[in-house]
């Protein structure tokens, strides 16, 4: 008998039984379909303990590193604590270190959260008060920065935006939960071409991934496209241009909306025109939902493997 803990509740797994069978037997309404490790409908995440490698068959390297596994083909021999794939788990206290402008409507928030483990490019849930929770991607690097860095667009009517702009100050306490998201440098070959496309504050995870790629000695060519609504939105452009000048394998392509520019400065159209050969590339896409969906589909249709496309689509806050 092996013990698993599912959302705080102990469930026994009988010898030879799968985790899915045990969950269903225990009355857990666990989603599932093929029961053969293919359709991934039942995917869960082990937040403590290591799932058997065969229960991670067909998952991406990023998912494996994060402990994702398929309960329908998982016969554990050691205890596991598991959660639904979108559960961010317990939250940790963090302290605001600095809030600085990056452009006229984008700020950089840095918070200190001791011992918070993550990969650059993943996202967290930031909680800054009762009912005030948002997901933000991380531009920082855990081995280089003693803080978590987020890039946040300020919306005039946004509750979090107003709180950040008018109330929150260095020294204030907030909470962070996670991390989550598979948009990070994992399963990439050091010689593979990398294609990074970020729109707006979608640059945050892209910037995190870029720094991680450099730190891990990536040798293949890296092209980074950043899209913005105006030139002012092309934040970090000086840093990125300097990197582009000093690194032979890195090319920075800023795209700001401009009726006189090719494709009107649209980042997706610009990148799709240049990137004709993508079947070998490791691709990272971050930005609004429509942009990410369009790029993912178009890049897949022209030969990119879905396994090589990591993406993070931002959805607007509900309240």
């Amino acid at each position: 008998m092996t013990l698993i803990t599912h959302e705080g509740r102990p469930v026994d797994v009988a010898p030879g039984e799968t985790v899915l069978e045990a969950l269903l037997r225990a009355g857990v309404n666990a989603p599932h379909s093929c029961r053969a490790g293919n359709c991934q409908s039942c995917m869960h995440r082990a937040i403590d303990g290591a799932p058997p490698p065969e229960s991670q068959s067909g998952l991406t390297d990023a998912q494996k590193v994060m402990g994702y596994f398929l309960p329908c083909i998982c016969r554990p021999t050691t205890p596991l604590t598991i959660s639904r794939p979108d559960d961010l788990g317990a939250s940790f206290e963090a302290v605001v270190r600095a809030i600085d402008p990056l452009s006229d409507d984008i700020i950089r928030l840095r918070v200190e959260a001791d011992g918070f483990a993550y990969r650059p490019g993943q996202f967290i849930e930031l909680s800054a008060g009762e009912g005030l929770k948002r997901h933000y991607s991380l531009a920082s690097h855990p081995e280089e920065d003693p803080f978590l860095e987020m890039h946040i667009r300020l919306h005039q009517e946004g509750r979090m935006s107003r709180h950040l702009a008018e109330k929150l100050q260095a020294g204030d306490k907030v909470h962070v939960a996670g991390p989550s998201g598979s948009c990070f440098y994992e399963g990439v070959d050091a010689d593979q071409p990398m294609l990074l496309i970020g729109a707006g504050t979608g640059l945050a995870p892209i910037y995190g991934v870029l720094r991680d790629a450099f730190r891990k000695g990536h040798r293949g060519p890296i092209r980074l496209y950043h899209g913005a609504r105006s030139r002012k939105g092309l934040y970090l452009s000086e840093e990125l241009q300097a990197l582009s000048n000093s690194r032979e394998n890195f090319d920075y392509r800023p795209c700001a909306f401009d009726p006189t520019a090719p494709h009107g400065g649209d980042v997706a159209a610009t990148a799709l025109e240049v990137e004709q050969s993508v079947s070998d590339a490791a691709i990272f896409l971050c930005g609004g939902e429509n942009l990410v969906k369009r790029l993912k589909r178009d890049l897949f249709m022209r030969g990119a493997s879905l396994k090589n496309i990591r993406s993070d689509a931002f959805t607007p806050a509900r309240a």
Binding site: S33, C34, R35, A36, N38, C39, S41, K296, L306
Partner: protein, 121 residues
């Protein structure tokens, strides 16, 4: 005589076919609209499960699973012509990969065997 799944090359064959097949489906105006707005990663896993079944590989699908999975699509108008289109794309995929006609036919027959469950009738 080895099983159809083994003759086709097992899981490796499914992996080689699945993205090719999904691209053909998304490029097919008759059926592409059923995939508008779906999560592509989740969808390709389901395509892999479907191909594994159609290749005669290990699966534990029940008729009820097939019915539930397609119920909402049937409500949106999924009918025989769409199943025909999917199987046609499957045939083209296998031919692209050099699979002999005998096996192409066997795969099509297996895919056809779940037609009534898929269409909820």
């Amino acid at each position: 005589m080895s099983s159809l799944y083994d003759r086709l090359g097992g899981e490796g064959a499914v992996n080689a076919a699945v993205e090719l097949f999904y691209r053909k489906v998304l490029a097919d105006g008759r059926i592409a609209h059923f995939f508008d707005g779906v999560d592509m990663e989740a969808q390709i896993a389901k395509q892999k499960a479907f191909l594994t079944m159609a290749f005669g590989g290990p699966n534990n699908y029940t008729g009820a699973d097939m019915r539930n999975a397609h119920k909402r699509l049937v409500e949106r108008g999924l009918n025989d012509s769409h199943v025909d289109a999917v199987i046609e794309n499957l045939n083209y995929t296998l031919r692209d990969l050099g699979v002999p006609e005998t096996e192409v036919k066997e795969v099509a027959d297996l895919a056809n065997s779940v037609r009534d469950d898929v269409l909820n009738r």
